[in-house]
């Protein structure tokens, strides 16, 4: 009898609390929607400024709702949401009200955005010293590059601590397959080689190593940059063309460089004020979106199946692996990749390089390999890599 009365009273008391919570959720949801609507060039800012300040007052229990708003958000909106989440988390950390369990559930759910999940982990780690050892090792093949990196770092440390050369080699080889960041790839590869193992770096990265090269065409005073020389209209590997200094034809060049560099000064000789084209065919087992990632210290353009994906009119301002990213769609079967690599006439010693490196990979850098690769190693790779 007593219990029924108490239950009824408790229920009545709960109703306003639930209504208030629902109201707070609806309010936050509205602010998050405004923040997600932030676009390029300041679009949506006026509303978002107010929404950001209001959302920053959210209850810590709503943190995962804020993180979930990063799902599918553009990079600018993602940063607005991060700013809100960190402000809320700072209050929660002070009051020891971080919803650790909810954050861990959020982290475990790979359907959420990699950045939202990474932030969830960072918030957990602020107040839980065991977070790294508890949560990170299982994330070695995570779609979040940042989480995967931490897991790889732990695995590399464990490999170094393994007893015996064979155990170390096996551990490094296993870890190597999960490496996506260049420094970790190099670290693991170096260790494998030291221990007597073999690595195929171009294969791991997905570098295209065999090209047909044509050049030089004229680029004195940069006039070749906008000029559409014949390969931009049609690639005919048997054709001859009037080049900058005489008749030219396509030359086959295969690079043995570990990171796929093709040195045009060696393939074509040194030329200044010159244009070179590089052509490769790529066989895909399915239609798929891929990254074409180019490192090139010269001005460059990339076409995939005749479609211009990117043009970078920049000369001699540093270079590195993955310097330029272009997203494109491979057709099932044969695809064509065409590069234009422009050298200018700068005379400084550091301005003599004329080279490129290009790889094909997915959005987190996992190699996508041409199916006609004459490589025994590629045949043994798991499908996700091959």
């Amino acid at each position: 009898m007593i219990s029924r009365t108490w239950i009824l009273a408790g229920g009545l008391l709960l109703i306003p609390c639930l209504l208030a919570a629902r109201g707070a959720d609806a309010e936050l949801s509205s602010h998050l929607k405004t923040l997600r609507a932030v676009g390029p060039k300041g679009a949506g800012h006026r509303d978002a400024v107010a929404a950001s300040q209001a959302a920053s007052k959210a209850d810590p229990s709503q943190l995962t709702t804020i993180l979930a708003a990063m799902d599918g958000a553009n990079p600018i909106a993602t940063n607005w949401l991060r700013g809100v989440a960190e402000a809320v988390a700072q209050r929660a950390t002070v009051s020891k009200a971080l919803p650790i369990r909810n954050l861990e559930s959020f982290l475990a759910d790979t359907s959420h955005s990699p950045r939202g999940r990474r932030l969830a982990y960072e918030l957990i780690a602020v107040s839980d010293e065991t977070a790294e050892s508890r949560l990170i090792p299982r994330l070695i093949d995570d779609p979040s590059l940042e989480l995967r990196r931490d897991a790889v770092a732990l695995a590399l440390a464990n490999a170094a601590a393994a007893s015996g050369k064979d155990a170390q080699l096996a551990a490094y080889q296993k870890t190597f397959r999960s490496c996506r960041d260049h420094d970790q790839i190099k670290q693991a590869a170096d260790k494998i080689k030291q221990l007597g193992g073999k690595v195929d770096l171009p294969l791991h990265y997905g570098f295209v190593t065999t090209w047909r090269i044509l050049g030089p065409f004229d680029n004195v005073n940069d006039k070749g940059w906008d000029a559409a020389y014949p390969p931009e209209e049609k690639v005919d590997l048997k054709a001859k063309y009037p080049g900058q200094k005489g008749e030219i034809g396509w030359i086959e060049a295969t690079t043995s460089d570990e990171v796929g560099n093709v040195d045009l000064n060696k393939v074509l000789d040194k030329h200044k004020g010159a244009i070179a084209y590089a052509y490769a065919e790529f066989v895909s087992d399915k239609a798929q979106e891929v990254d074409l990632r180019l490192g090139c210290i010269n001005a460059n353009k990339i076409w995939l199946n005749g479609e211009l994906l990117t043009a970078n009119h920049v000369y001699h301002a540093n270079t590195s692996i993955d310097q330029y990213l272009a997203r494109g769609k491979l057709n099932k079967g044969k695809n064509t990749i065409l590069l234009k690599v422009a050298q200018n006439e700068q005379t400084e010693e550091w301005a003599q390089e004329w080279r490129f490196q290009l790889r094909v990979c997915d959005a987190i850098g996992t190699a996508v390999l041409s199916q006609d690769l004459p490589s025994a190693a590629s045949a043994s790779l798991p499908r996700t890599v091959r």
Binding site: G42, R46, V49, R82, Q90, H182, S320
Partner: protein, 403 residues
């Protein structure tokens, strides 16, 4: 009446500046001078002599610190492959304790020379907000407590904006506009951003060439302010609210040191040093040029009737009136940071991590060489009687006892 009101407004604006603030690259008024500050002339990070505190910093950064009210603000960047994680850090000026930290993901190009960092530009403030700018052309606005007010990804808007050697032009606040200069071989422009909303007030095309110089500010006699932009093509002056070009001066400028304006004059790193008399609403006129008072990587500093430049590893003092060299003093090292002047001393911080204190006067004299123990590329800040130095690994406060 209108002129009177303008004068009142200008005076009020000046009063709002806290004397203890150092709100942007080379100080609130971009001159690099804190005339009323008195700093220790000798200090030692190792022994702690005249070192109020040092606090470790995460990541990398070659930006300078700024000081607003009782807080020191610093930017940093980190990342395993590219420095794509951006940090804005706030420290208690009295204790050096970190008050808050905010992280963001860069939305533009993050490549840079190994000696530089994504956190290369010095942040700026209007006294209420922090504008943290990065080589990746991300511009973050936070209040002094770390609450995000707005976020712009200027290279997200203009994807070809960037220089893979790194960019380092610092933002400058002029009235209610934060001005950024993004000059490179790709999308090259300068923009005035509304400090309150983060919206673009104006955007103008700039030469398609690398440029690391920061915008300057010219305050006219009536209190009006103009934005100064320099490049290899010359100097232009712009209305801070509209970006409208008011005048230009054709003289190819150096692309590393920045323009300084003080006492109705413009000190331009061009043809050595070009000094212009600012007109009131009209183009400036040449006062003098010198191929001896020449800025190297550091920007010129003007204090009273003298102009100082770091020419290589020589501090040159010139007569502000005619450019005559008054004295030169050798200060060893490679300098990227602009010297700051506090009271009667110049503080020159070299890349090797030494702060050389030079007594200023009839002659210049190095009175001490103080080891900081780590590389320094960013220009220090002076606030009150304290010097704040952003080293490679630490933020360092130099001050006498109880400061």
């Amino acid at each position: 009446m209108k002129r009177f009101l303008t004068l009142i407004a200008a005076t009020a604006a000046l009063l709002l500046f806290s004397a203890a603030d150092w709100r942007q690259f080379r100080g609130t008024d971009l001159t690099g001078v804190a005339a009323d500050s008195r700093l220790p002339t000798q200090f030692d990070v190792k022994t702690g002599e005249n070192v109020a505190w040092t606090t470790p910093l995460l990541g990398k950064g070659v930006s300078g610190p700024i000081v607003v009210r009782d807080r020191v603000f610093v930017t940093a960047s980190s990342g395993p492959v590219t420095q794509n994680r951006l940090h804005v850090l706030a420290f208690d000026a009295k204790t050096g304790q970190q008050v808050w930290k905010r992280d963001f993901w860069a939305t533009g190009r993050c490549y840079h020379h190994p000696t530089s960092a994504n956190a290369a530009p010095t942040p700026a403030s209007d006294g209420e907000r922090i504008f943290a700018f990065f080589s990746s052309n991300d511009l973050v606005c936070l209040d002094l407590d770390g609450n995000l007010l707005w976020y712009r990804g200027l290279a997200h808007d203009y994807p070809k904006a960037g220089n893979d050697v790194g960019m380092s032009s610092s933002p400058v606040v002029v009235g209610k506009t934060v001005v950024v200069q993004i000059e490179n071989q790709g999308d090259s422009f300068a923009a005035g951003i509304d400090t309150e909303t983060g919206e673009t007030r104006w955007r103008i095309d700039r030469p398609h060439a690398a440029n690391w110089a920061s915008p300057g500010m010219l305050r006219l006699k009536d209190g009006k302010e103009l934005v100064l932009l320099t490049s290899g093509k010359g100097l232009t002056a712009h209305d801070p609210l509209t970006g409208e070009q008011k005048w230009s001066y054709d003289s190819g400028c150096s692309i590393i040191p920045s323009v300084t304006a003080a006492n109705g004059r413009i000190y331009l790193p061009a043809n050595g040093l070009t000094v212009l008399d600012a007109g009131e609403g009209s183009a400036p006129s040449l006062a003098w040029e010198s191929n001896k008072v020449v800025p190297g990587n550091s920007s010129p500093v003007v204090d009273g009737d003298k102009v100082y430049t770091l020419r290589g590893s020589v501090l040159v003092c010139g007569n502000e009136k005619d450019g005559d060299v008054l004295w030169q003093e050798r200060v060893k090292g490679t300098f990227w940071a602009t010297p700051v002047i506090a009271g009667e001393h110049a503080y020159c911080v070299n890349q090797e991590g030494q702060c050389l204190v030079v007594q200023l006067g009839e002659k210049g004299q190095v009175v001490s060489t103080n080891e900081l123990g780590e590389a320094v590329l960013g220009t220090p800040a002076v606030a009150g009687d304290a010097l704040y130095i952003r080293g490679e690994k630490h933020l360092i406060k130099i001050a006498g006892a109880n400061k």
